[in-house]
């Protein structure tokens, strides 16, 4: 007989009688088929893709278990189930597709998991205004496929496109691989519809820009389920591009590549994809190029004449910085392999601890942050690899994405905590921001004070005002004192 499942981070749970009563009361509202206390459903929604969860999985443990899973199908249903939970002070965790990288869905205090995948309709495609209104639980790849069928693109291609939801993107301020042209999800979201902890429904207006006070829609973007549930959003869309231009270049020096990017962004070029890899990653992803140089991958798309002009402007800057033209085939290779993440499963089984740490730098500290974080990570015993690339670039800076792999032996969790401490300390010392698009979740909450200063206090006050009972995704986004994980 199997032992009962071990939980590593459970900080409490709600009395079973309260949960049972809640299940009885919500069943007539959302239908019995949308309420489950089946132990398999509880087990299946208890974690996301935070690598620590994978380590525990291999040890037969889970972080924490919810007590009930529910699947509301309309905004009104979300409102009613939240109002009841609020009244009874039952913790609620929204669940998209569990691809979050920082433990955001871990139900630290048990309670209710609100799985949003049955809210997956496209409500309206507004071709004149280039807007789509979509529900939160729609899978990313299916969202894009539906738009493509009508001749449009959502322009949002995170590596997790096929395993994440539109609501998850909004909740985490996600970024797609084509973000330099189309923006991050917060740039695409013209309005949101959200339900507050007490069931209040907020519906934003899909007007371009306003001068009507702070834009309430934006409060929810990046709130990671702590302020309410984003039930739908109206997002920008684009006609499918007429032309796509692929180009790659290699640089002797990483810094030259960064400078060339800074200058072509300054000149107004907006390629969809800009990725500059350090030597290690160039060697790993494009072995035919070797690991001595840095490769820059570019994809420019849109109206043919504009694409042509952008390609010319960009080429001038990169060649001026000593780049060697290595042709379109490396970009084709990247396009083919960009969603492949098999290495993680294999490495984890071999005893590795790994993670990716994405931070935001300005141009002035882009290179120094990379060097400092790499040095810090390599300084932690057990680290085998600390490599990096820049993607998601802006006129004022870029996202730096570091991959860490270590073989620490038995004490994997201690190693994990150590290398994150080292990386975050280096990042903050350089003045970079601690996350560009994965968000905060459970794990990164410990650095929110250092990141925001008084800003965190502002966030906490907003949280207290919107969710006075503290039922929404407790323990996340660094909004309260240390959790068991940080101790």
């Amino acid at each position: 007989m199997a032992e009962p499942i071990r939980t590593t981070l459970q900080e409490g749970s709600v009395k079973q009688a309260v949960i049972d009563q809640y299940a009885d009361d919500v069943s007539p509202i959302i239908g019995v088929d949308n309420v489950s206390s089946n132990h398999i459903d509880l087990l299946s929604t208890c974690r996301d893709y935070w690598p620590v969860n994978s380590i525990w999985m291999l040890e037969g443990a889970v972080p924490a278990l919810p007590q009930l899973v529910i699947w509301p199908q309309t905004t009104e249903e979300v409102s009613r189930v939240l109002a009841l939970a609020h009244e009874r002070r039952i913790p609620v965790v929204p669940y998209g597709e569990g691809s979050g990288a920082l433990g955001g869905v871990v139900p630290l205090r048990g309670g209710i998991m609100v799985d949003l995948k049955r809210m997956n309709r496209i409500r309206n495609l507004d071709q004149e205004n280039l807007l789509v209104t979509v529900e939160c639980g729609l899978n990313g790849a299916i969202y894009e496929e539906q738009l493509n069928r009508s001749g449009y693109t959502g322009g949002h291609f995170p590596q997790s496109l096929r395993c994440s939801t539109v609501g998850g993107w909004l909740a985490c301020r996600a970024a797609g691989q084509f973000s330099t042209r189309y923006g991050k999800i917060e740039d695409m979201a013209v309005s949101t519809e959200a339900v507050l902890a007490d069931g209040t429904i907020f519906r934003g207006r899909s007007v371009p820009r306003t001068s009507t006070g702070p834009r309430v829609d934006q409060f929810f973007i990046g709130s990671e389920g702590t302020l309410g549930i984003i039930t739908a959003a109206t997002l920008r869309i684009w006609p499918l591009p007429e032309k796509r231009h692929l180009a790659s270049y290699t640089f002797d020096q990483l810094a030259d590549g960064l400078e060339a990017i800074r200058l072509f962004m300054r000149a107004g070029a907006r390629p969809a994809v800009v990725r500059l890899y350090d030597g290690q990653e160039t060697g790993n992803h494009f072995p035919e190029l070797g690991d001595q140089r840095s490769v820059l991958i570019l994809l420019i798309e849109g109206a043919a004449k504009i694409v042509h002009a952008e390609a010319e402007v960009i080429e001038q800057y990169v060649l001026d910085h000593g780049a060697v033209d290595t042709g379109p085939e490396h970009v084709e290779h990247w396009l083919e392999t960009r969603f492949n993440i098999s290495a993680a499963s294999r490495l984890l089984q071999k005893g590795a601890v790994l993670d990716t740490i994405e931070v935001t730098t300005n141009w002035h500290n882009a290179h120094s942050t990379y060097l400092a974080m790499q040095e810090a990570l390599n300084g932690v015993e057990g680290t085998m690899l600390a490599s990096g690339h820049w993607s998601h670039v802006y006129p004022e800076g870029a996202a730096l994405y570091i991959t860490v792999v270590g073989f620490p032996g038995d004490d994997k969790i201690t190693y994990y905590k150590k290398f994150w401490q080292a990386a975050m300390a280096a990042c903050l010392a350089e003045g970079a921001a601690i996350s560009h698009h994965h968000g905060i979740g459970l794990h990164r909450g410990q650095w929110m004070g250092a990141e925001h200063g008084q800003g965190l206090e502002v966030l906490r006050r907003i949280k207290n005002a919107l969710d006075p009972q503290g039922i929404m995704n407790p323990g996340k986004l660094g909004l309260r004192e240390v959790s068991k994980w940080e101790k």
Binding site: I40, N139, S345, L348
Partner: protein, 358 residues
């Protein structure tokens, strides 16, 4: 079918469900427990004795159509999640756990050699000892005998001598439902009859039968000592060799639904299209997903019997991918059955061929 491959299963359990967008059962249910990696996690826990069998666990790991949609984006070339789940399920019975809904079908298999509660023997036909043996399969015989009739007509029209035997179920449904012993009994019985027939070629239009004969029988120690050919390849050959001469079709616009097994396990995506291209006057339009990227009709792994509501929901979702007004053609009895919804016209390729060949 075989042993669970723990390394591959863990690769999947540790994957962030990259293929979830292509898993039809997940897409119609929205339940994490039936997401591809979700099922792999449960299976891995069972294997590692971290979870005990009960009906809820079995129900979750049975929620797989065997459609191989997950392989489209899967980065692990060696992984066949549906087979790992199937192998996992084979241990449930020993723990006294089974899905109650499948009981009557299992008992039908025992009594009649068909899950549908009727003997398949009415179709024993043709010429005893003929080289070609046409194997219709239980589902066509029970649900759509006119397609079996079409196959026979076509063989007659081609002027070929053929035979049909008193078929037993190929055994796959029994394995899907976790009764390996019964599966092997049925396989042994079929093998005996097939060998006795003296045929040198077996043609089947049922993808599940084809896969079972070609892939599972050898693993079960019941390898068939004759050539097994899929319907689309066989009938195309008859057309190309001039045995069948198609005339004009009464349908104008058609759209071909690739059955998952033909498309992804057998890689037979060109043959049906070539058949269509040889029929004068047809305009063929592809559905949203097609070829090796096709999406399941909901009928894989006997879902129409074990999870009928889910099967219907998957079929409905798939139907939304077809051009309006087009007649849907397919080459699988489960697909035809599943897609016959919402007033759509659905035929098997052999029925179309029968109607256009003199």
């Amino acid at each position: 079918m075989g042993e669970v491959n723990m390394e591959e299963l863990l690769n999947c359990a540790l994957c962030p469900n990259i293929c979830r967008c292509e898993c039809p059962v997940l897409q119609v249910s929205g339940r994490e427990a039936v997401a591809p990696s979700g099922k792999a996690r449960l299976a891995a826990m069972l294997q590692q004795n971290q979870l005990n069998w009960d009906e809820q666990v079995l129900e979750a790991v049975s929620n797989c159509l065997g459609c191989r949609g997950c392989t489209i984006y899967c980065p692990f070339a060696e992984l066949s999640l549906c087979d790992e789940l199937l192998n996992t399920r084979l241990t449930a019975r020993a723990s006294g756990v089974k899905l109650a809904v499948t009981d009557p079908y299992i008992s039908n298999l025992r009594s009649y050699g068909s899950p549908y509660g009727q003997k398949n023997w009415s179709s024993a036909a043709g010429e005893k000892g003929a080289e070609v043996l046409y194997f219709a399969g239980c589902t066509s015989q029970a649900n759509h005998p006119s397609a079996v009739e079409s196959a026979r007509n076509l063989l007659d029209k081609a002027g070929l001598s053929f035979q049909m035997i008193e078929e037993d179920c190929c055994g796959y449904p029994a394995e899907v439902w976790g009764d390996q012993e019964l599966a092997r009994q049925l396989a042994a019985e079929n093998r005996r009859k097939i060998i006795e027939s003296g045929a040198s070629t077996l043609v089947t239009n049922c993808p599940e039968c084809w896969l079972t004969f070609t892939n599972r029988y050898p693993l079960w120690g019941e390898e068939l000592p004759l050539e097994v050919i899929d319907g689309p390849t066989y009938f195309l050959k008859l057309m190309k060799n001039g045995y069948l001469k198609p005339g004009k079709s009464k349908f104008k616009k058609v759209s071909y639904h690739d059955p998952c097994i033909w498309a992804r396990a057998a890689k037979k995506v060109d043959q049906p299209r070539e058949i269509l291209s040889l029929i004068p006057g047809l305009s063929v339009e592809e559905p949203l997903s097609y070829g090796e990227c096709t999406r399941c009709c909901g009928g894989g792994s006997m879902f129409q019997l074990s999870f009928p509501e889910k099967a219907a929901a998957v079929a409905k979702r798939r139907l939304g991918e077809f051009p309006d007004q087009a007649t849907i053609l397919t080459a699988c009895p489960f697909c035809r059955e599943g897609l016959l919804q919402e007033g759509r016209q659905v035929f098997e390729l052999i029925e179309l061929l029968d109607s256009v060949c003199e």
